[in-house]
């Protein structure tokens, strides 16, 4: 079994043709995790027994001829540790939830279980998804399989490192301001953030409720399409999910004609901050797509430069509200049963549980958000940010009257070194420069591999990602363009040497 060559489609075919069983496949991945994870550090929890049990169940279905069109049946994956899994430790990579065992599954987990998924374990992220490198995890930093001195990106860094290192076939993470697209770009993967409300957030530990999106990390575009089809759709438990019909994405990808497709290139995304090698790679990719029949049009998104400051008001504001629930009363770390802490009344339990339980970045965001929402500052910060957000969204609405889809770089630079930005929160926030506007507007976007660049301070070539942005709920055309580009290039087939 060549684990590095397996995609969902190939593994699923192998299972049906009885080339291997799901138990064999699962055991192969589990032993590869054991062999490699000392170096890569993707996993917080490996659920070996549950995985083998799920694989056995999948094999029984396959043997009875019940596999049908169920491409996820028996396929091993990893799940970001911010997604609730019933009976399985779910930490959000935070000390405050270090021992938290959820009583229920996230909706997307129930849906994947129905499809017969095999969960190998829970993977690392920045604590509560606050970050762009996994360096904010309260436990450890994950490593980029392409250069282990570098970050895999974040916050879904463990999702990226586990898929890129072939420790699993796909991963589910989340994207609030770039957390699936940026690590996908850093690790040569396909990272799909659906439209806000396309996939239920029920059971995803909340960070920024108005931009949180459960998202997909895959080895190729068709795999991402297969997964999205299964997890998307309305959910009574999340009133922000859309009742729009879910498209048959996999089927739609059979059409590879992009003749006449109008592609917008926003000039605001090609500024000085953009590394020259990345600029060239994106320009090359655009030429390729043009040669396949698409029309390329320059467009303007005038409020682009305000996206990051807007995001860093809205996000901490929502974070300060969402993290208020970790007060030491109902679950999670509590000063109540910590002998080293003296608390004499309820207020002190709140203050000390949070003070001791939360890491630096969570505290920073709680503080910033509390300030932005506090009396006297609300209008100047939060309300102002929500107004600028309207303008950012309007930019996209106007541009999408002229074009069908947009292309931009995913990140201004390739993966940075561990420790390079960790002392400076603002530098880390700038990682989202090409990503947060899309999140604020709630649009679907995918990052796909489009080249490599050798950084000046590095010894290895590092991957480059291209972001494809679509209209709301138009995931099918985002995936289609990504698929056509992928079919005509080989970047996604390159593998790191571990």
């Amino acid at each position: 079994m060549e684990l590095d060559k397996l995609t969902i489609t190939k593994a699923s075919e192998g299972l049906r043709k009885k080339e291997f069983s799901s138990v064999e496949l699962t055991k192969a991945y589990l032993s590869y995790i054991k062999k490699t994870d000392d170096k890569i550090k993707s996993f917080i929890t490996v659920t070996e027994d549950e995985a083998i049990e799920q694989a056995g169940e999948a094999d029984r279905k396959i043997n009875k001829g019940e596999a049908n069109n169920n491409f996820l049946l028996g396929i091993p994956c990893s799940i970001k540790d911010i997604i609730n899994t019933k009976g399985v430790l779910t930490t959000a990579s935070s000390n405050i939830l270090k021992n938290y065992i959820p009583a229920y599954d996230a909706t997307l987990i129930s849906r994947l279980k129905k499809e017969g998924m095999v969960m190998l374990g829970k993977v690392n992220c920045d604590a509560f998804a606050h970050g762009a490198s996994t360096e904010n995890s309260d436990f450890f930093t994950s490593h980029n399989p392409w250069d282990q001195e570098r970050v895999p990106g974040g916050s879904s860094g463990g999702s990226a490192s586990s898929v890129a290192a072939d420790q699993c076939i796909y991963s589910i993470g989340s994207d609030t301001g770039g957390s699936i697209r940026q690590p996908a770009a850093f690790c040569n993967l396909v990272g799909l953030k659906p439209t806000y409300g396309r996939v239920s957030r029920f059971g995803l530990i909340s960070m920024t409720s108005s931009t949180d999106c459960p998202s997909i990390m895959a080895k190729n575009v068709i795999d991402a399409a297969i997964i999205l089809e299964k997890i998307a759709g309305v959910d009574q438990k999340d009133s922000t999910t859309s009742s729009n019909e879910v498209d048959n994405y996999k089927e739609y990808l059979k059409d590879d004609n992009i003749k006449g497709l109008k592609i917008g290139i926003p000039s605001e995304y090609f500024l000085d901050e953009l590394n020259v090698n990345i600029k060239e790679a994106i320009e090359e990719a655009i030429k390729k797509i043009e040669s396949l029949g698409a029309l390329v049009v320059e467009i303007r998104l005038l409020h682009t430069k305000y996206a990051v400051p807007t995001y860093y008001i809205i996000t901490p504001s929502e974070v300060s509200s969402n993290l208020a629930r970790f007060d030491g009363i109902r679950f999670g770390y509590s000063a109540t049963n910590d002998d080293s802490v003296q608390a004499k009344n309820l207020i002190e339990i709140y203050c000390k549980s949070k003070g001791k339980g939360f890491g630096s970045e969570a505290k920073r965001r709680i503080m910033l958000g509390t300030y932005a929402l506090s009396s006297g500052y609300y209008d100047a910060y939060y309300l102002k940010a929500q107004k600028v957000r309207s303008l950012i969204k309007k930019d996209f609405d106007e541009a999408f009257k002229k074009v069908d889809i947009m292309i931009t770089p995913t990140t201004p630079n390739v993966a940075f070194k561990i420790g390079e930005h960790s002392g400076n929160p603002l530098e880390m926030y700038m990682e989202d420069i090409f990503l947060s506007a899309v999140s604020l507007a709630g649009l679907p976007a995918v990052s796909v591999p489009c080249g490599f660049s050798e950084p000046k301070d590095g010894k290895n070539e590092m991957p480059i990602g291209m972001q494809i942005i679509g209209k709301a709920f138009d995931e099918k055309n985002v995936l289609k363009l990504a698929n056509v580009y992928e079919k005509n290039t080989n970047w996604h087939l390159k593998k790191p040497r571990i």
Binding site: T240, S320, N345, R389, Y429
Partner: protein
């Protein structure tokens, strides 16, 4: 030029109090510097003209999503898992410290 916003230690203490979060002396000093830097960066939003612009309320245009308010039971296993997460309990009840 926009003026630079500086958060004093007292302001940091006030916000921490509102957020019900205990900070160490070092943290207060660190946040005073770091939050001032972030607020300084955010100040650039002031230059955007937002006169007559409505704030975003929901990006995909949903309004007033309702459902029936029906109590759904939960199985014993789920109930037990929820209770097992209580940091402090008396039987199946959450125990909290005195309020005042």
């Amino acid at each position: 030029m926009t003026e630079k916003k500086i958060l004093s230690i007292e302001e940091v203490e006030h916000i921490a109090d509102l957020a019900r979060i205990e900070l160490t002396k070092d943290e207060k000093e660190k946040f005073s510097i770091e939050l001032s830097a972030v607020l300084g960066y955010i100040e650039q939003l002031k230059e955007v003209d937002t006169k007559n612009v409505k704030p975003v309320s929901q990006v995909t245009g949903l309004e007033n999503v309702f459902r029936e308010d029906i109590i759904e039971g939960c199985d014993d296993e789920t109930r037990k898992r929820i209770i097992d997460n209580f940091p402090d309990r008396d039987d199946d009840y959450i125990k909290v410290k005195q309020v005042m």
